[in-house]
Symmetry: C2
Subunit: 217 residues, 2 copies
């Protein structure tokens, strides 16, 4: 299971306890992050720049959040760090006997989403992405870095001028998974919204498998 | 091709010409529609109620827009009437030799979306749906009525207690098609956003076929 993104990622011995002022400092870092990510995109925002805006040392941002990816997840109030969740699922491989990688990935994602607040998280992301083209750029760069790059590592390599390269395959997977999340959790489209997790894994898993490694025609 | 949703649907002989006051009346009807749809949902809003709010006779609303579905499309500034486009595509069946129904549907949808303003249309819908739960209800009811109901008519019937009934199959199709639209046109996720239409038809068409009529495990 992914670690929560709110706690300190690492804590040197003797410094892991909560200190007075911690939560105010964290809030300042997260506010500076949201501003920087929105203005500079995910790729363009730096921990150094965010630290400067928050008036803290970059080492403190690293101490609290570890990586830019975890900082972004915390700033956007995501319940998990998507890329870490995906990376762990890809590294571990299917846990259930007879399950394919696609089924395993769909199960992992749906399990992570089966929390009460996921609708609000999605709506928050969507609302921020639809406010400006910069915010859309931010979300696109994050999805590219956290999801497409990692998924393309397990996709079938393209041969020669094959347009169905691994990143194309990974982006097709993203289209299905994003659509599943939005129709099930935000739109609440029935009977999809009420469907059993195992049924969805069986229905959508083979789509993911085909996009990753199958014949795309 | 679908008719534009801005012009009169039908016009009695001698009354099809533009009259003074038409555009103001139309605007009043569309404004009343947006308010009624948002407050009462798609199912709950009636042409009679909208006409009352706009201070016009219900017959005039019918004269201008024909059906509730077309009125909704015009009020939401959709470039096509989704259910009419889908209904026509299902009735006509695949136009290209060797193309499956799934490929035909993906091609039809993508061709309708290959207009410059589609990103703004999606963003407008998403933004309105994410502002309140009533607005989400409105969009869900519209997608259910315009898309899921029509698609389920061509989906494989469920047997006995089979959870994979035709409406479930249709909602799975919606999850993939909605996700494709959002990642390609709103998020602009590459290489999906730049992908060739024929390549996408070949990649996503078989997914739609399987969801509609295949074995879902």
């Amino acid at each position: 299971m992914p670690e929560p993104v709110t706690g300190p990622v690492t804590g040197p011995a003797g410094r892991t306890g909560r200190r007075a002022g911690d939560s105010g400092t964290r809030e300042a870092i997260l506010a500076a992050s949201r501003k920087r990510f929105a203005e500079h995109g995910y790729d363009g925002a730096t921990i150094r720049g965010i630290a400067a805006d928050a008036g803290v040392d970059p080492a403190l941002v690293h101490h609290f959040y570890g990586t830019k990816e975890r900082l972004f997840a915390a700033a956007m109030r995501l319940p998990v760090v998507p890329g870490e969740l995906l990376g762990a699922a890809l590294a571990a491989g299917p846990a259930n006997p007879g399950e394919s990688m696609g089924e395993h990935l769909v199960r992992t994602v749906l399990q992570a989403w089966e929390v009460h607040e996921i609708r609000d998280v999605f709506v928050g992301l969507i609302r921020s992405a639809s406010t400006s083209t910069q915010a859309t750029t931010m979300l696109r760069e994050f999805v590219t870095e956290a999801i497409v790059s990692r998924l393309s590592a397990v996709a079938r390599p393209g041969a020669g001028a094959d347009p169905a390269g691994p990143r194309y395959r990974a982006s097709l997977v993203a289209s299905q998974v994003v659509g599943l999340g939005l129709t099930r959790y935000v739109l609440g489209l029935e009977p999809l919204a009420a469907a059993d997790l195992d049924a969805l894994v069986a229905a959508v898993g083979p789509t993911v498998d085909r996009y990753l490694t199958g014949d795309l025609g």
